[in-house]
């Protein structure tokens, strides 16, 4: 018997006699009624910031204002122009010097301020993690109330990688003090546009 069969054997021999049924998950009463204000508040709690540009032109202008010092801006969305073409990136290491990564998220979660990003949105996954700062574009209408609704929408069948990102990278590993920018992005700005 190979190890796989031995493990299955051991599991089957040790299964508890009493079988427990899969529980009914009730539809819980929604506590959030106004999604956008709740989402905005949770973004701030998570250490993110948000902006409400009128249109994509204004968003582009905002980006230049917010990150005037940035030398490398890499955008994974056609809605915003950067100066590093992500479609030309062959190897994630080429993104090591990115100052600002720009990505359009599929949807946000009002309960906690998360945004959902897939491999298709990131184009190169490392953009979401090597960039010093992140700008996330999100249509303010693309919001769900909570994690139950969020998991109905993720469609994991269609992507090799998907991430709920809730604000910038954070740690409290030194003296239990909250610090942003542990390994991933130092800041995360959501442009609701």
């Amino acid at each position: 018997m190979n190890p796989r069969e031995q493990i299955f054997d051991a599991v089957r021999n040790h299964l508890p006699a009493e079988k427990i049924d899969y529980p009914q998950i009730p539809v819980f009463q929604k506590t959030i009624t106004e999604l956008l204000p709740a989402f905005e508040e949770r973004l701030l709690d998570a250490g993110a910031t948000f902006f409400l540009p009128k249109d994509l032109r204004e968003a582009q202008f905002l980006l230049e204002q917010q990150f005037g010092e940035a030398s490398v801006i890499c955008s994974a969305t056609p809605d915003i122009k950067g100066n590093r073409d992500i479609r030309q990136v062959k190897n994630p290491h080429e993104l090591a010097d990115v100052d600002v990564g720009v990505i359009r998220a599929r949807f946000g979660v009002a309960e906690n301020g998360m945004v959902w990003l897939t491999e298709e949105d990131l184009v190169v996954n490392a953009l979401g993690f090597l960039s010093q700062h992140l700008v996330i574009l999100l249509k303010p209408t693309e919001l769900v109330a909570d994690m139950y609704d969020a998991y109905v929408k993720v469609s994991l069948e269609d992507t090799a990688y998907g991430c709920f990102m809730m604000g910038p990278s954070a740690t409290a590993d030194i003296g239990a003090v909250l610090v942003h920018g542990a390994q991933g992005a130092r800041s995360l700005s959501v442009y609701l546009v």
């Binding site: 190890p3 493990i7 299955f8 051991a10 599991v11 021999n13 040790h14 299964l15 508890p16 079988k19 427990i20 049924d21 899969y22 529980p23 009914q24 998950i25 009730p26 819980f28 506590t31 949770r42 709690d45 994630p92 290491h93 309960e111 301020g113 998360m114 491999e119 190169v124 996954n125 490392a126 979401g128 993690f129 090597l130 994690m147 998991y151 109905v152 993720v154 994991l156 069948e157 090799a160 990688y161 998907g162 991430c163 709920f164 990102m165 809730m166 604000g167 910038p168 990278s169 954070a170 740690t171 409290a172 590993d173 030194i174 003296g175 239990a176 610090v179 542990a182 390994q183 991933g184």
Partner: protein, 469 residues
């Protein structure tokens, strides 16, 4: 050769006695996490229902584990992952080594994985010339200090910023007198960045594995697991057989519970879903047993397999908070450690079940409703039956210990002394002649119920749970 028995009470005494800074800070920080957890739980009206559902989903999965493991494997393969099976730590480590060796990879970056910790993987790889870098900040601190993690969520919580400044000054040349967490974090960020870029493989664990899609989920606050998975070409994930959940929608329940229970935050900053390799990458999944199937067959203890490693039971435990996690001398510490560690080595960990007041607070906060303090009590019975002789230091606990070894006695003892619960902490805390626990301490925070009340209510609750459709 039998491993030396761990003496948690003596280790705890040393932790408390080292100075007036570490133990109070440790206690304070963990209690703060517990308070944040309470606030987060209270904000969700269905919190208690969620705990029940999560518990039942886990029990359902574990009682049908063979079926779900097969399903997960088939789907993960369909998604393009390579799946390996490991019966124990040695096989797990061998798989990792083979993958690295075949690809001539000499340095890896890893995120936190208690399973890899269990397997002693880092040491195994290091003796074979692989450079292993922990990417979680807390784990990295522990690695540089040659210590295992002391807490499953906050690995270096027993250290102060001043301790860390010393460690970093030696390891990466920071100013030993600068204890600013922002400064220290920034220095480590710069150092880790290079290592991420040099690594030939990124290793992660998994918080959940979804049978329905062959996906596994990794939760971090730093994004370190994601960098490890996104930058090097090879991603290796170690997954214990008990991590399986049947469906994607189950995550709606578990993600809501996990970080709220752990740190009182609404979620971790990153909740990442891996279904097959990323574009241009390789994904290797090592499904590992390492004692779990045996645990599944232990009538009294298999519920411990429901654990989602949130650490809430540690944060709330009055003994853990004052002992520091390293006192348990094991991969897992705190209440969950007490019930897991003896399944690896009964003799070595025979004292752990006595390192508890049985106050029941762990059971109250556990998001998957593991009957932790019941199990601790049952482990005492096992240890008593196997005649593991107590180490003298257990003195501090012995009166309570005797009572709890004979459960039928404690109802009487409780009434007589207005709750056995209160006896134990007095023993622990106020008898300075016996032990150092009593130093300048107010009473720790106990469950509002007595153990007996809790015990009875919990029994009823369990029956109700089982009746639910």
């Amino acid at each position: 050769m039998a491993a030396k028995r761990v003496d948690p009470a003596a280790n705890a005494a040393a932790f408390i006695d080292q100075d007036d800074i570490h133990e109070p800070a440790h206690d304070r920080n963990l209690w703060a996490a517990r308070m944040k957890r309470d606030a987060a739980a209270k904000a969700i009206p269905e919190w208690e229902d969620l705990r029940t559902i999560a518990s039942l989903i886990k029990e359902h999965t574990l009682t049908h584990l063979d079926k779900y493991l097969e399903q997960f494997e088939a789907n993960a393969i369909k998604r393009g992952a390579k799946v390996y099976w490991a019966r124990d730590a040695a096989e797990h480590n061998q798989h990792v080594w083979n993958i690295l060796n075949e690809r001539k990879i000499s340095s890896i970056i890893k995120s936190k994985s208690m399973l890899q910790e269990e397997c002693g993987m880092t040491q195994f790889l290091e003796t074979r010339g692989i450079t292993v870098t922990e990417s979680d900040l807390g784990e990295r601190i522990q690695q540089l200090d040659n210590q295992p993690p002391s807490h499953i969520v906050m690995p270096a919580i027993h250290k102060t910023a001043a301790d860390i400044a010393q460690i970093f000054s030696k390891a990466i040349g920071t100013d030993p007198n600068n204890t600013d967490p922002h400064y220290l974090n920034e220095a480590m960020r710069q150092d880790a960045r290079k290592r991420f870029l040099e690594a030939g493989a990124g290793m992660t664990g998994a918080n959940f594995a979804i049978a329905e899609t062959g996906t596994f989920v990794v939760c971090t606050n730093e994004g370190n697991a994601d960098i490890g998975a996104a930058v090097p070409r090879v991603h290796i994930a170690s997954i214990g057989i008990e991590k399986i959940l049947p469906k994607v929608e189950d995550l709606g329940v578990f993600i809501r519970l996990l970080s709220r229970s752990a740190l009182g935050t609404l979620a971790t900053q990153y909740t990442s879903h891996f279904s097959g390799p990323r574009k241009g990458g390789e994904l290797h999944i090592i499904i590992t047993d390492n004692g779990r199937s045996k645990r599944l067959g232990m009538d009294d203890f298999w519920h411990s397999l429901k654990c989602i490693r949130c650490g809430a039971c540690m944060n709330t435990c009055p003994v853990y908070r004052r002992s520091g996690g390293l006192s348990y001398g094991a991969t897992y510490s705190g209440p969950i450690g007490i019930i897991l560690d003896p399944t690896f080595d009964e003799s070595k960990y025979s004292e752990l079940p006595y390192h508890s007041t049985l106050c029941g607070s762990c059971t109250e906060v556990c998001p998957v409703k593991i009957d932790i303090s019941d199990q601790i009590l049952r482990w005492r019975k096992v240890m008593a039956e196997k005649k593991f002789l107590p180490i003298s230091r257990r003195l501090a606990f012995s009166a309570a210990g005797k009572i709890f070894e004979r459960p039928n006695l404690f109802h009487g003892a409780e009434t007589a002394a207005s709750a056995a619960l209160k006896i134990t902490p007095h023993f622990l805390l106020y008898n300075r002649a016996l032990n150092p626990w009593g130093r300048h301490r107010e009473l720790p925070h106990f469950a509002k119920q007595t153990f007996r009340e809790w015990f009875i209510q919990n029994k009823q609750q369990n029956q109700e749970d089982k009746q639910q459709p």
